[in-house]
Amino acid sequence: MAKIELNNIAHSYNPHDANPLFALKEMSLSWADGGRYALLGPSGCGKTTMLNIMSGLVTPSHGRVMFDQKDVTHTITEERNIAQVFQFPVIYGTMSVYENLAFPLKCRHFADDQIDKKVKEVAEILNLQDFLKNRAKGLTADQKQLISLGRGLVREDVAAILMDEPLTVIDPDLKFRLRRKLKEINAKYKTTLIYVTHDQNEAMTFADNIIVMDEGEVVQAGSPKDLFERPQTTFVGYFIGSPAMNLYECQADNTNQVSLGMNTISVQTNLDQKNTSNLKLGIRSEYITVEQSSGPNTIHADVIEVEDFGNYKLITAQQDSLRIKAKVKREQVVPTDKVFLKFPAEHCCIYANNKLI
């Protein structure tokens, strides 16, 4: 186990060209020992490049990779003590479950009794103890994926387990079991787990720290709650949560107030001086409330549609070019023609050039 640091890492696949293209733009990140991380972003955002840099499959064109303050930038994968779990379970089908789990230790010439102790311990935590003698081939997809994971866990020297969309081939019912198992393992072994996915729900369910990437840049790193409540960029506001955050162009009126079309909205962001060009206001549809009458921070809008999702209602309303989505309780009475929608000041996020102020 180790603290992993990426110092001023950047990667270009053509670094010597006059205008190199960067798959990863310069960034520094540090991964605490024992953390549960997710790397999240749409395809092409650079998350796989980042994973490959950590595992050593790619040497970054710029910057340094440190494991416990030791420079491993040019160290090959085998010497980095990284375990990997891929989308599809990689197991030795003809070997028994026991032999599969023992394999990484055998290769490193551990004594038989040491191997036996470790394999049995890991098998128990993964609920594989009853299958140790079975051929790995005959197991279910989630059990196979647990074996892949177990091969990482038997090694006490592993710096981190990197997982690339590990639940892709797992049935929905089994996903639940595996997710819980991953969290338990992280709690028990304090192994750093790094989980790569394009699925927001998957990332937010698994990780206590999420690194959101877009177009080769880290756009936000934080807890699921931070990403949801205080998205650092408009992209994160759109990408996290369903429905996406409502976003509107606005102008700063004074320190704590913006104009949104014909409306005046008080906010808690200090809008003095600089950074007030290309302003946007963002608000989650969950935080918009239906009011009986006009009042501060209230927008009077035409009701376009009210959708009944059973557990909640989604109001779509419009005032000039402002289209507002508000998520309310099913019991909420919504007028059919016009509605007063309140934007509570504490839930309004203000963005300048798409970055949170």
């Binding site: 749409p42 049935d171 929905p172 639940f176 997710r179 819980r180 969290k183 338990e184 709690a187 394009h198 699925d199 927001q200 729900n201 937010m204 369910t205 206590d208 807890s223 699921p224 709650k225 990403l227 949801f228 409540e229 759109y238 990408f239 996290i240 949560g241 369903s242 429905p243 996406a244 989650r284 549809s285 969950e286 959708e307 009944d308 999702f309 059973g310 557990n311 909640y312 998520k327």
Partner: protein, 357 residues
């Protein structure tokens, strides 16, 4: 003209794939077949399309024996889970292909194709190759092709399931607009899904299927409010409705002999005895005065947190608004909104719904 299925049976193995299915479909209406994986949704659609022949039963369309009409003459369009397109043709050629096969007037083809491209939002992409498109765009091409055919029956088999969640969110909304209020509304639309929210949003009639058998049909609202039995209550809710063994005894409502409530006023008239007690995840809430539950895992879904909980033998899922973090095995206090309790007989049949009359 309506489509009628009568007593359709399909039993290729020991198990029924379709078990005595009788259904009526009216033009201009949207039907959602809601069921879990392997419940018979795809088999049912394929039977309507003519890709499978049932062992017995009949299908009438516009008063004619549909089973006697070969697939290619049925005027049915189908959109699949996988994005099926002709890889060597561009977007426009993909969409016009079935019309050219039919030797339609070229001017008319031009018009229909351009209409369909407009509807699915692919204007400007006409000359693109299929491989140059994202998954969402590829599914739009498949959809445009089926719309341009102006088929009288349009079958959609989980068309969004293979798209990532942001695309799904956007397309789902567009789907509804495509079908409702368009000139194509003289067609019959049948949409298969595993997702209760999708079924609610499409807001047509819901047909609940399980193990090849129809469990309930009705409007989205009615099926949601009054599920015919406990199985329907599970299938039509995500998370599935919480069901626990319970009883009414001596003016108390008791779950699993563990959790005890004073009988709420709405249940006063219910006879004493054993029931299956149902409550939706959204009708459980955090409450300092509530019962002690232990967290099995918390999952994030869109903008909600699903807490999987247990209290001895009582298992349930609670939906908490917003994105929250809970650790495995953490203790929380949970209460039940008793005005939302459902009672099912031990056989599973609905006994009491909070929305009854």
């Amino acid at each position: 003209m309506s489509l009628n299925l009568g007593n359709i049976i399909f039993k290729p193995t020991e198990q029924y794939h379709l078990n005595d299915i009788t259904l009526n479909f009216e033009p201009g209406k949207m039907y959602t077949i809601l069921g879990r994986t392997l419940s018979g949704k795809t088999t049912l659609l394929k039977t309507i399309a003519g890709l499978l022949s049932p062992d017995s039963g009949n299908i009438q369309f516009e008063g004619k024996d549909f089973l006697a009409i070969p697939v290619w003459q049925r005027n049915v369009a189908m959109v699949y889970q996988q994005f099926i397109n002709y890889p060597h043709l561009n977007v426009k050629q993909n969409i016009e292909f079935p019309l050219k096969q039919r030797k339609m007037d070229p001017n008319l083809i031009e018009k229909e194709v351009s209409d369909a491209i407009q509807k699915v939002g692919l204007k400007g992409f006409e000359e693109r190759k299929i491989q140059e498109l994202s998954g969402g765009q590829q599914q739009r091409v498949a959809l445009a092709r089926s719309l341009a055919k102006k088929a009288k029956i349009l079958l959609l088999d989980e068309p969004l399931v293979n798209l990532d969640y942001k695309l799904r969110e956007g397309l789902r909304e567009e789907f509804k607009k495509l079908f409702i209020g368009s000139e194509a509304s003289q067609s019959i639309f049948v949409y298969a899904s595993t997702d209760p929210l999708e079924a609610m949003q499409l807001n047509g009639d819901i047909i609940v299927i399980d193990e090849g058998k129809i469990l309930q049909t009705g409007s989205a609202k009615d099926v949601f409010e009054n599920p015919a039995n406990a199985k329907v209550a599970e299938i039509t809710n995500d998370p599935a409705m919480n069901l626990n063994k319970g009883k009414i005894d001596n003016n108390k409502l008791i779950l699993n002999n563990e959790i005890q409530f004073n009988l709420p006023s709405n249940l006063q008239s219910m006879p004493s005895g054993d029931y299956l007690v149902g409550i939706r995840a959204t009708d459980l809430y955090l409450d300092d005065q509530g019962f002690d539950f232990q967290v099995d895992i918390s999952e994030i879904s869109g903008s909600e947190t699903f807490l999987h909980l247990h209290h001895q033998d009582t298992k349930c899922v609670a939906t908490i608004e917003g994105v929250k973090s809970y650790e495995v095995d953490e203790h929380v206090k949970i209460n039940f909104d008793l005005s939302k309790i459902y009672l099912f007989k031990e056989s599973g049949e609905l006994h009491y719904s909070p929305y009854q009359n």
